[in-house]
């Protein structure tokens, strides 16, 4: 897994790529939580993620919960269809806010 945090004017984007499994999810968790500590909305760019296991998904769930309790928007961008299937099997596709473009996330922030 590779990761890069990009600071936009009103939010952060965490760009992920590669496989996210047991070895990487602690890093993912730490990145998400530390970014949220900054008090800014977070968009996770999943476009280049080839595989995410349930430890990675658990980190996303914890991030989402943390963001919610701080009243911050937390979105997932460009989820691939295999990942979507993994989310769907536990109905998490209905829980997360999924975005196809960064602009649609910005629109939500401006509401």
């Amino acid at each position: 897994m590779k990761h890069e945090l990009v600071n936009k004017p009103d939010f952060d984007v965490l760009v992920l790529s590669g496989d996210i499994d047991l070895h990487h999810s602690p890093t993912l968790r730490e990145r998400i939580l530390s970014s949220l500590k900054g008090g800014r909305p977070l968009l996770i760019d999943m476009q280049e993620v080839s595989y995410i296991d349930s430890s990675g998904i658990a980190s996303l769930v914890e991030g989402f919960q943390t963001a919610k309790s701080s009243n911050l928007h937390f979105g997932l961008l460009s989820i691939s269809s295999p990942t979507l299937q993994v989310l769907a099997i536990t109905r998490l596709d209905k829980i997360f806010s999924l975005y196809e473009t960064e602009d649609s996330f910005i629109e939500i922030l401006e509401l």
């Binding site: 047991l22 602690p26 968790r29 430890s55 993994v86 769907a88 099997i89 998490l92």
Partner: protein, 270 residues
């Protein structure tokens, strides 16, 4: 069509003591598909599973798993392989002194150093998959048969295994629960790309979930193929299994009665 093979079984012989249970089995388990193993009680289905898991050492032959022969693998290699395998045993095999949730987390605690929150969320994700989320805090003794099987499945998939082995998932379950388990098994294949080996007697299940079917009997492999090939077989043992005709055994009434009653006549004792 060429397919990649997850498990390659070659000329496998398995014995208990000097009783030969499996004789010269050749079988390929294709990657990313659901293979179903069928056969009468005592045919050696569980024994074949145990051999594939490296729990029962074969007398001879080879079992290559993702390219490595597990029969000659070192204990260390076997340990690494097991992390990629999930197993739900016939009887559930949950630890009675732990809650359902604790049972399911056990592999994560043994094999990973994940954060406690991550472990808790993963546990609930898997419990939700098998519709057991409300029962996380129950003890195994408080579970019904179907709940025990679903808990065992949740534990088997907690590490997102590449290979999932499932012994008799639906035996003794009501039709709705067993249909839900079938759905779940299919979803695990589709969404997580798992290679799944299921032992089952339930014909309805078999033809719903199987990509490949292997039928054991008479100490060996009777037939392996696609569901269509199995259905088209005219081997009487296969036809019998699919039509559930009881085995025809010639019964000598007098002799059978004597055997059951334990009374022997002088003429038998010679």
């Amino acid at each position: 069509m060429t397919q990649e093979t997850a498990i390659e079984i070659r000329d496998l012989v398995v014995e208990y003591g000097n009783r030969r249970i499996l004789n010269s089995i050749d079988l390929d388990i294709p990657l990313g598909q659901i293979s179903v193993i069928m056969g009468g009680s005592g045919a050696g289905k569980s024994t074949l599973l145990r051999s594939m898991l490296g729990l029962k050492k074969p007398t001879s032959g080879a079992i290559r798993m993702l390219g490595t022969d597990i029969c000659t693998a070192s204990p260390g290699q076997l340990q690494e392989f097991r992390k990629q395998m999930g197993v739900a045993f016939q009887g559930g095999a949950l630890f009675t002194s732990m809650t359902v949730g604790e049972n399911i987390q056990l592999p994560l605690r043994q094999h990973t150093r994940l954060d406690e929150n991550t472990i808790q969320i993963m546990t609930r994700i898997k419990l939700d998959m098998v519709n057991m989320l409300p029962h996380e805090h129950l003890m195994p003794s408080e579970l019904s048969g179907g709940m025990t099987k679903r808990a065992a499945l949740a534990r088997a998939i907690i590490m997102d295994p590449k290979l999932l082995f499932f012994d008799e998932p639906s035996a003794g379950l009501d039709p709705i629960t067993s249909a839900e388990l079938d759905e779940l098994i299919i979803k695990l294949k589709q969404s997580m790309n798992m290679t799944i080996v299921v032992v089952t007697h339930e014909l309805e299940s078999v033809f719903k979930i199987a990509d490949r079917i292997a039928i054991l009997g008479d100490g060996g492999l009777i037939l392996a193929g696609t569901p269509e090939e199995i259905r088209a077989s005219d081997d009487p043992r296969v036809v019998g299994l699919l039509n559930r005709t009881p085995r025809q055994v010639n019964v000598d009434v007098d002799q059978h009665l004597r055997r059951l009653s334990g009374l022997q006549e002088a003429s038998d004792k010679k």
